[in-house]
């Protein structure tokens, strides 16, 4: 009797005791995983901007489970499974994060905000100077986005879930979120969490892949300046590019229209020189959205929600997708190396994996180690930015065509 009273007093502990073993172990495991993410974020191993809110959210939500009036277990943070409008209206007034989840997360608005912020940070001039080279490398850098689908299906995932986890190969967090929200409603939380966990590791992991695949002699190749002087790319050119490409892509893939619009809106604002708007989107909007994205992803990692047998393969498939994309990018770099008569530094290929600007920086870092006089950053950034556009195109193709092709 006394134990019962004690448990009623501390419902977090009571729900832990009353849960079955699987849930109890998962809750405790997720609490420790959350703490580990905070630690790794603080140490700078993973991106602290995302990992600290995500880790604290994950740890807190799995601790703060209580008995609801109907006897079931729940929390006062968010209920992502509610679809009935009447229940939703009720829960909006109870769960404190429900308004943010309903109005920004479940409709992809937060992903679009992050994308708009990325657009404001992009200088598309590097892409405009070498469109074909950048596009070729970016397409090669999407190898993981395609090759992971059959591997995931071999693990027993459906085609929609496989396509969503394969998007991790595109190395673009908001894109993974947007695609999985559209294709894989049941698994979008673990897929997005896996994506963000691994994207943080590209900075540490890709240099090893480069050193494994590209010998020092080739890493040291100095890129000659072009024989014909490059024409200057003005902001008018960049604005015209953003507007025309946005309209064409929206015309081709209306389903991914919000993504294209957000990205190119950011580019257009940057090139129009709207200083106050640039400061707002590149500052408070981008950082605020990233913070709430991390927080909500952490909060959604509740044991009852993510305890799914399909989650474990996702951990492996995410890293496979990123690894294959890196290999594809470097192979693209090798193809360019042979096409240009051994004058192209193949390391640039890794920048085609569109983790802006991390992979471009990784490429320059590896090249500088081999030859401090070799500057490849402008070409790498072109491939990098093109990678973002290519990933958006693939997201559009997957969302539009996968439900049609695989009925």
């Amino acid at each position: 009797m006394e134990t019962n009273n004690f448990l009623n007093l501390f419902q977090g502990v009571a729900t832990l005791v009353h849960s079955n073993t699987e849930i109890m172990v998962a809750r405790i495991g997720l609490i420790f995983l959350g703490l580990l993410l905070i630690y790794l974020g603080k140490k700078g191993v993973l991106e602290p901007l995302l990992m600290i809110p995500m880790g604290l959210g994950m740890a807190s939500i799995n601790a703060a489970i209580l008995f609801m009036p109907d006897g079931s277990q729940g929390n006062l943070f968010v209920d992502p499974m509610i679809t009935n409008p009447a229940q939703l209206m009720n829960i909006l007034q109870i769960d404190w994060l429900q308004p943010i989840y309903t109005f920004t997360f479940s409709n992809g608005l937060i992903a679009c905000f992050v994308f708009m912020g990325i657009g404001v940070l992009l200088d598309v001039g590097f892409l405009l100077q070498r469109p074909f080279v950048s596009m070729f490398l970016a397409l090669c850098g999407e190898l993981g986005t395609f090759a992971t689908i059959p591997i995931a299906m071999a693990f027993g995932l459906s085609i929609r879930d496989s396509a969503s986890i394969a998007m991790v190969g595109g190395a673009d967090g908001p894109m993974v979120l947007f695609t999985s929200l559209n294709l894989s409603k049941d698994l979008f939380v673990p897929i997005t969490v896996v994506a963000y966990l691994y994207l943080g590791l590209t900075y540490g992991g890709y240099p090893y892949l480069i050193k494994l695949m590209v010998p020092k002699r080739l890493r040291a190749i100095k890129m000659d300046p072009p024989k014909k002087a490059m024409k200057p790319i003005t902001s008018d050119h960049k604005l015209a590019f953003a507007v025309i490409i946005c309209v064409i892509l929206c015309l081709l893939f209306p389903v991914a229209g919000p993504l294209f619009f957000s990205l190119f809106m950011g580019v257009a604002i940057r090139e129009s020189g709207l200083t106050h708007v640039i400061e707002f989107i590149g500052g408070p909007l981008l950082y605020g959205s990233t913070f709430f994205l991390g927080l909500l992803l952490g909060i959604l990692c509740e044991a009852h929600l993510i305890l799914n047998p399909a989650v474990l393969p996702l951990l492996l498939l995410g890293i496979v997708a990123l690894l294959l994309s890196g290999i594809g990018g470097l192979l693209g770099g090798y193809i360019m190396y042979f096409i240009t008569g051994k004058k192209f530094n193949p390391v640039i290929g890794i920048a085609a994996v569109s983790c802006v600007p991390t992979t471009a920086k990784v490429a320059q870092k590896c090249v500088s180690e081999a030859n401090p006089k070799s500057i490849i950053l402008p070409i790498a950034l072109g491939a990098n930015i093109c990678g973002v556009i290519t990933t958006a195109i693939i997201a559009g193709i997957y969302i539009t065509l996968i439900p049609l092709l695989f009925k």
């Binding site: 405009l128 469109p131 059959p150 071999a154 024409k231 050119h237 025309i244």
Partner: protein, 91 residues
Amino acid sequence: MGIVIYKIFQLFLLTFAIGFFIAFVIKVLMVVIQSTSRSHASSNSRIKCYYRAIRIRRIRNKNRMHDTNNSNDLIRFYYGSDTEDSQTAKL
């Protein structure tokens, strides 16, 4: 599984096609914009030359009026043009 791989390969080819189409559009866009901006620049310089010529003519006429205070010069200044003026008018 074979059919799945075949369909994914089709999607891959489609992505390649769209990607290179976008690259082609960018290339065309760059060529068009740069050729247009060149013609703007040349027409701007022509306009600048034209106005410069008018300014020079006015100053010369003004100086001539000041020097001679001749009625013929005044008439020429307001209504007529000399050889040099007809050359600048061609601009």
